[in-house]
Structure formats: C-alpha cells, structure tokens
C-alpha cells in the first residue's frame, strides 16, 4: 500500500501546521460488481489514527462513503520536534502506516 504524508519541513513553536495524508486503497463499497458480474466484497479503511510524539492528535472512522484512495488533512499545533505517525487498518485487517518528522525550532 503506497501512501503519502506531508508536514511542513519546519515550524515554530505554537504554529498551526497542516498534516496531509493520501492512501492508496480502493475503499471497496461492496456494491460494485467486477467485469464477470461477481459482487466485489466490501473492504474499506475503517480507522485512521494520527499521533504526534506521545499523544493522539486525530482519529477518523471511515466507511464506504469516503472516496477511493482516501485523502485526509487536519491541523496540528507544533509544540516540539517529534514524529507524526499515521496508522490505519482496513476491513480485511490489513494494517498500514506512514510517518514524518515535524521539526520545531
């Protein structure tokens, strides 16, 4: 699973920065059929968690109403240099993760 995560290279303490995330996932609704007419089973990313250092800063529960290859962006307040770590799991139990360091100075 390919994913993209973007945070600014550097921030000053107290800055509000945007965390942007894009995950390659079909977000299969369970309502589609393949070219042979067979139902494609539902499989979506059900949960995305974002941690900044030790604390959880954002969590999303997703369903079939979220677009394929889901995009999420949310603001975080820069406190000190630390890792922004994103983890997710889909209906099939497949886990993924991506991280980036937010430099605060």
């Amino acid at each position: 699973m390919t994913a993209r995560l973007r945070v600014p290279d550097t921030a000053r303490p107290g800055d509000i920065v945007e965390v942007r995330l894009l995950i390659q996932h079909d977000m299969e609704t369970g309502f589609r059929r393949d070219m042979q007419g067979r139902a494609v089973p539902m499989n979506v990313i059900t949960e995305v968690r974002a941690r900044y250092g030790e604390s959880e800063v954002f969590r999303a529960e997703l369903g079939s109403g979220v677009s394929a290859n889901p995009y999420l962006a949310f603001p975080v307040r820069a406190l000190k240099t630390g890792e922004i770590r994103i983890e997710w799991v889909d209906s099939a139990g497949v886990r993924g993760g991506v991280s980036a360091v937010l430099n605060v100075a």
Binding site: T2, A3, R4, R20, L22, Q24, D26, M27, N69
Partner: protein, 260 residues
C-alpha cells in the same frame, strides 16, 4: 474534357465536405473538467495519480525476472533517461523489441523490456504495476510537448489510426470526430465534450476511482457509442493512440491527469 469534368467533380466533393472545427491549437482535457477536478489535478500532493507515480518510482529500481535486472540497471535515473520519452509514443521501435513489431504504445514498450531484458512475465493490461510504471515514465515528460514520428514504419499505423478516427461505428453510428472535432466545448447532459486529447494520460478518473490507461478510456468511448471494443494492445487502439498523439502535437504532457 472528361478528365476536366472528373477534376471538377473532385473539387466539388472536397468543397462539400464539412469544414471541421479543427482542434487547433489543441486544448488539454483538463480544460473541460469542473473547477474541483482541475484543482485536484493541479495539487501535486493530493492528485491520486501521484500514488501510482510513486509506486512506479519504486518498481523502477526493483530487480525482476530471470535476468534479475531493474529498469534502473539499464536506464539509470529516470529523471534524465525518461525525460521526453512518453511525449514521443506510440513509436516504431528502432531496437526491434520484440523483433518485427511495428509501432508500440508506451505500455507495450514497457512490457517488451520486461519480457526481453528482464526475462520476466509481461504485466497484465491495467495492472497496478504496468499503470504505475507508465504513470511514472509519463510523469518524467511533464510539461514537454507531444511530438511523434509518423514516417517510415509508423506511416501505416498513422493512416490506420486516422481512418479509424473518422470511421462511423456502433449502434450510435458516430465517429470520434463527431464529438471531438465537431462538437467539443458543447455539453452532453451536464458535461462539456472535450477534444479527446491524450496529454493527461494515464489519468485518474473519478468514474473509475482509479488510474487508467488511454486505451481503457478509448475502449470506454467504443462502449459509449455501442460499438465492439478493440482488445487492449490491438493494432487498432495503438494506431488510434498514434493518430491522437499526432493531432495533439505541441500540447505538453500533463500526466497523471484527473478526469471526471
């Protein structure tokens, strides 16, 4: 006198042919999308096609097949070696891979390398791997104008593609030209009809919810007019791609595009 008459008749027929609203200068398919779709294409981070480009960059460096070679082992840094390459496809391959083959689309050229240089099994049409590599390679030509060679062994394919473009097909009895030369800019239900330019392909299509090749898009047009769809990689689709590329000359490559 008889000859004279024939020439006059010929001239008359020429004049009677409708003057097509030629796509000149060619205009990217991007310009026919809604504001939000254009914004998504322009957003280098959020453009979902970039996921395929990123995966293609990884595949580029991965050894594959009995030869144990990666694309990079022969071609080095794609930033230099692949710059402008996609803008020149489809192309009659000078190296003769595979031997005797005429004009190849970029996808076919990738698979020719996979089979002959890597000694690996060719990627399936529209597979994630093939789309990733073609998106990655096409992206290296971003901003460079399309310019294809239609001389020599490509001449026949070009002529075939052009004939197909103007050939009425399907239950709707429409040719490509009827929508994409004569009626571009007008709307079909709520959607503006584009010029059918290939600059943004492979593209992420919202309708498909995935990246897809130009051939998949062309096949969808065949379906739309209720015509029999040529197979992926068929000479007809490659010829049509070549005609479209020639028709689009000068338009900068903008892959991966985003289309509704």
């Amino acid at each position: 006198m008889k000859h004279h008459c024939e020439y006059s008749l010929f001239a008359l027929v020429c004049l009677a042919l409708p003057v097509f609203a030629q796509a000149n200068p060619p205009q990217s398919g991007r310009d026919f999308q809604g504001k939000e779709t254009r914004a998504l294409e322009a957003d280098e981070f959020a453009n979902p096609g970039m996921l395929w480009v990123e995966q293609g960059a990884k595949l580029w460096r991965e050894a594959r097949g009995a030869a144990g070679k990666s694309c990079a082992d022969c071609h080095g840094d794609a930033k230099q070696s692949m710059r402008g390459v996609a803008a020149s496809y489809p192309k009659a391959d000078a190296n003769g891979i595979p031997p005797g083959r005429r004009v190849l689309s970029l996808d076919q050229r990738i698979n020719a390398c996979v089979e002959s240089r890597q000694a690996a099994r060719a990627f399936a049409w529209e597979s994630r791997e093939l789309l990733s590599l073609s998106a990655f390679i096409s992206h290296q030509s971003k901003g460079l104008p399309i310019k294809v060679d239609i001389t020599g062994s490509a001449a026949a394919a070009y002529a075939r593609g052009k004939a197909l473009y103007f050939q009425r097909i399907g239950q709707m009895n429409l040719a490509c030209t009827h929508c994409h030369d004569q009626n571009w800019g007008k709307t079909l239900l709520a959607e503006p009809v584009s010029q059918g330019q290939p600059d943004g392909w492979p593209a992420y299509r919202l309708e498909w919810q995935t990246l897809g090749s130009l051939q998949r898009r062309l096949r969808a047009c065949f379906f739309g007019v209720r015509a029999e769809q040529p197979a992926f990689g068929s000479d007809d689709l490659v010829a049509l791609e070549l005609y479209l590329a020639k028709r689009a000359e000068g338009l900068p490559i903008a892959a991966p595009g985003v289309r509704r």
